[in-house]
């Protein structure tokens, strides 16, 4: 029972403990070590002494004391120790705790750090994932990941990256950097569907947990709310994306009763309160159109096409334009959609999904020979095995099976 209590405390308190000790000492490595020590002590003492009334405060105090002990043993720790000594003893104020985690989040996601370093730091320092777990999720070696973390911590220290929530004038440019890291974590995990890729699935859970925290800490930031809603809409459908044989199931063929209705309802409520019309809010609104349609045929493609038009103005990208073309095609007919897709041919020459989208419209128009050619190009360009298998099934459905090729 106490082991479970420690496990639960680890999930909810790790980031806050590390964040607090960093603020007190300015030493990232020391903060992680002290937090680890505190959890080791909890495992040792809680079974005999019982779980404390406020596990977070107990762990924070223990970690802080461990940090002080360590600094006492080092001559260089003297100056840091003076700072720690000035901190009031006892349970930390609730608003300070929240501020510390937000400080940590913004510092981990500082734009002067490389994107891969921001992601690794966020997972290690804030989410408490081990180096081994992060290395596995990003298909890299533990040694390489450990090196990346050391380098990032050194840069924070040497370059003087401030440990704070950016002031109001910087917030509009810094908040998107935090949102981007969380969204990247989510999509890295979400893209994983089968086999060796499955080890990346826990990333979606971590991304949602961190997005929840950010939303809680910045309740008035529409994009934080939008990002959380977007993740929940996608995650609600995750179990229906792959069938019993591990094959990819397209959205319009998914079993909607397998979707997580409670998650969709929660995402819908969040979206309703988000306000604003930033990129994540708009993407969440698009996801809502899909997630709340009772059947695939009920999907409001006209509304989705309008929303993609809004998104294009915010994020001018040919990929967004391709998505808009799909929505327009499904709202107003494959002929219109195909014409829009063809306009993007040059801009998306190297985009793996381009031939697949083209193939789909050709199939819907009954132009099976051209569709088969496009499916072959799509199979060539596809990046994952489940996608290739799905496209091969489509290819044989338009009569372009193996026999006619060979």
């Amino acid at each position: 029972m106490t082991a479970e209590a420690v496990e639960r405390a680890f999930r909810t308190e790790w980031g806050q403990i590390v964040a607090t000790v960093i603020r007190m000492t300015g030493d990232w490595e020391l903060a992680e070590e002290a937090a680890q020590d505190a959890f080791a002590q909890a495992l040792e003492r809680w079974p005999a002494e019982g779980v404390p009334r406020n596990p977070g405060a107990w762990l924070t105090t223990t970690a802080r004391n461990r940090a002080v002990d360590r600094l006492r043993r080092e001559a260089v720790g003297a100056a840091k120790l003076r700072d720690v000594a000035r901190e009031p003893v006892g349970e930390p104020e609730v608003h300070d705790v929240a501020d510390d985690r937000l400080r940590l989040m913004f510092t981990c996601c500082h734009p002067a750090l490389a994107l891969d370093a921001r992601v690794a730091l966020t997972l290690r320092t804030l989410a408490g994932l081990s180096v081994a777990e992060i290395a596995r999720a990003f298909l890299t070696s533990e040694a390489a990941l450990a090196k990346r973390l050391v380098r990032a911590r050194q840069k924070i220290k040497h370059a003087g990256i401030p440990y704070r929530v950016p002031p109001a004038d910087l917030l509009p440019s810094r908040t998107p950097a935090v949102l981007a890291v969380l969204y990247l974590l989510f999509t890295e995990g979400y893209a994983a569907t089968a086999g060796a890729e499955l080890v990346r699935r826990p990333l979606t859970g971590e991304a949602i947990r961190l997005a929840r925290l950010l939303h809680e800490l910045m309740p008035d930031e529409p994009e934080a709310t939008g990002l959380l809603a977007l993740m929940l809409f996608h995650d609600a459908r995750s179990s229906a994306r792959v069938d019993a044989d591990g094959e990819l199931v397209p959205l319009d063929e998914q079993d909607r009763t397998a979707w997580d209705g409670a998650r969709i309802a929660e995402a819908d409520r969040l979206l309703a309160t988000a306000g604003g019309a930033g990129p994540y809010v708009v993407q969440a609104a698009i996801a809502a159109c899909h997630a709340t349609a009772p059947t695939a045929a009920d999907t409001d493609w006209r509304q989705i096409a309008v929303l993609y038009g809004t998104l294009r103005k915010l994020v001018p990208s040919p990929v967004v334009a391709l998505n808009q073309a799909v929505a327009v095609g499904l709202a107003y007919g494959p002929e219109v959609g195909l014409a829009l897709v063809e306009e993007l041919r040059t801009a998306l020459a190297d985009y793996p999904l381009f031939p697949a989208v083209r193939a789909d419209f050709l199939r819907r128009l009954g132009r099976t020979t051209e569709a088969a050619d496009a499916y072959r190009a799509a199979i060539e360009a596809a990046t994952t095995e489940p996608e290739r298998r799905f496209l091969r099934r489509r290819l044989s459905s338009v009569g372009g099976g193996r026999s006619s090729v060979e």
Partner: protein, 105 residues
């Protein structure tokens, strides 16, 4: 904190050699953050700042473009990296070249 701002550009930046600093040096001297500056021979390692279309772009690490050569440096002293990046992004060279912000020991 003390920082050195390293200004770089490709050969087209040479035409700006006699442009002056567009009021930047006056402002920074008035703020007391500009300690000195001079032409400089090459280096490596830090945060690189570029301003393009009014947008400040940051890169982790030194100048990535090998055709960019160091054209000068400014020594600044300010609170933290955020202020150093703000100062660097206001330098006119950030709009045509790039500025590497390197902390001093």
């Amino acid at each position: 904190m003390k920082y050195v701002l390293l200004i770089a550009g490709d050969e087209t930046a040479a035409e700006h050699a006699n442009d002056g600093c567009g009021g930047w040096d006056t402002e920074m001297l008035a703020r007391g953050v500009l300690v000195g500056g001079a032409g400089l021979h090459p280096p490596a390692d830090a945060t690189t700042v570029r301003v393009r279309g009014g947008e400040t772009l940051l890169t982790d690490g030194p100048f990535a473009e090998s055709r960019e050569q160091i054209g000068g440096f400014c020594l600044i002293e300010c609170a933290d990296l955020d202020e150093a990046l703000e100062i660097a992004s206001k330098h006119p060279a950030a709009t045509y070249g790039s500025i590497e912000v390197r902390p001093l020991r």
